[in-house]
Amino acid sequence: MLNPALRDPAALPRLVLGLLALLLLWPGLNLSELNLAVLADDENAGNMGRFLADFWPLAHDDEFLPLLGRATLETLAIATAGMALALLIAVPGALLASRALSLSAAHRGGRPAWWAQALRWPVRGLLIVLRSVPEIVWALLFVRAVGLGPTAGVLAIAITYSGMLGKVYAEIFESVDPRPSRALLVAGSPRLAAFAYGVLPNAAAEMLSYTVYRWECAIRTSVVMGFVGAGGLGQQIDLSMRMFAGGEVASMLLTFLALVLLADQLSRLLRARLL
């Protein structure tokens, strides 16, 4: 017989979770002093409108275009060089921090010995330290150390991104099927070879897509860091904004959009080739 008073056992937990989320969000809104009414204020709206109206026509004169090209190349160079330096730290860090290459785990059903796990913690700690300070802070630091220019941006990206890439790579290595590499380890293969033959074929596509995404983020970040004097498009945008040259700002924003589009297409192309 069917029970007439049938009730969804998940209803109460869902209600409680929903109320809890509201309760947590409300103080957040208050603390951040979010007040959407300022947008509708006449004077503010007028200021914004004038600034936006300047965006058209786009700046494209002979003097500006070479400047824009140079700044774009500089931004790309900062992002790429920063990523390359970050990879130099991230790959060895991820290999050391990941459980995927544990020899003791191969004959213990995937659980490394406690001392092997303890040895991985300092590396994990290093990766945490590297990524816990925001890149903009590193950039401010390096601008003081090595002066205005792209070097500060490259170093800042290299340091923060090595921590992020290292952590995510280590997790990707652990998330793929461990049986191929374990079988190789038990057949006497050294760990790096077992990694290259057992883990890498399964992890390559995901690593690649994350790396290209991070490169895209590095392009964005290098623009932000330009505002504190670390070169590239950001520095140009900052200058143009100070001179109220809306057309120039708009041209640069468009370039920026094109760069992100480029990164996106590159990622799709590479994934399609690899998958």
């Binding site: 020899l103 049986r179 190789l184 006497g188 050294p190 033959y197 057992g198």
Partner: protein, 267 residues
């Protein structure tokens, strides 16, 4: 002595007893089949011999060495001399067959050679020759995810043949193949063992294949060795007792027995 087990027991991490009080001696060059019902501990025994599980009790000697008394480096060197054929070979789906076969020698090659081999296969002829013994030469440059279960099993076997191990352990090596292919593949394994004078241990579901191809049969049941005899000395009664299952109720025979299909996961 190729293999020597003295009172070896194995208890899994969940407390389940997989093997108890196993005594076993296998001389170099011997070819042994292990038979027994599902869950008898055949796979556990082979994984124990491949040092991919550590015994909880007793003494284990492989190729004259005690693997669990060795340092990590010496143990890896010993492991390179032992080849384990998996029932479902753990091969990355996107790896090419040639790479999967050549990976058999990773334990013997230097790291530099292994990495170079990943960029460009260094011994294509060797891989092709090994595969052609298993009638798979034309799949040399296919990807593993394009192969059937039986073809994958043969790639796994080719890897261990290419490894040129001194002790070959095979866990249900032909379970996904048709009878003709299964017979041929077991012959290849036996020929290899006889030609090079190496030891071969294989667990098999199909009793008739075991009796036809191996001069020594070990019956395993509930983690213990029930008999250890040449095939002509095994009676039907002994086989019935080995496979007897009190928990299965006899079902009324269905009009047409459905063909048994063995599903093994790809790669």
């Amino acid at each position: 002595m190729s293999i020597s087990l003295n009172g070896v027991g194995l208890i899994h991490a969940n407390g389940q007893v997989a093997l108890s009080a196993i005594d076993l001696r296998v001389r170099p060059g011997e070819r042994v089949a292990i038979i027994g019902p599902s869950g008898a501990g055949k796979t556990s025994l082979l994984r124990l011999l491949a040092t991919s599980l550590r015994p909880s009790a007793g003494q284990l000697d492989l190729l004259g060495q005690q693997p669990w008394q060795l340092g990590a480096r010496q143990r890896q060197q010993l492991r390179a001399r032992i080849g384990l054929i998996h029932q479902a070979p753990p091969l990355p789906p996107r790896q090419r067959v040639v790479t999967a076969v050549l990976a058999g020698k990773l334990g013997q090659w230097s790291l530099g050679k292994s990495l170079l081999n990943l960029l460009h296969p260094l011994d294509m002829h060797g891989a092709q020759a090994t595969l052609s013994r298993l009638d798979l030469a034309e799949k040399l440059f296919e990807r593993c995810d394009q192969l059937s279960g039986g073809q994958l099993q043969r790639v796994g076997i080719a890897r261990v043949l290419y490894q040129a191990a001194e002790l070959i352990l095979a866990d249900e090596p032909v379970s996904a193949m048709d009878p003709v292919l299964a017979g041929h593949t077991l012959s290849v394994l036996n020929q290899e063992a006889a030609a090079r004078g190496i030891t071969l241990l294989a667990s098999l579901h199909a009793v008739e294949l075991a009796l036809a191809h191996f001069p020594r049969i070990i019956g395993l049941r509930e983690g213990r060795i029930v008999f250890d005899l040449p095939p002509e000395a095994i009676s039907t009664g002994a086989l019935d007792a080995l496979y007897a299952n009190e928990q299965l109720q006899p079902l009324p025979a269905s009009p047409a027995a459905a063909p048994v299909t063995i599903q093994i996961p790809r790669c």
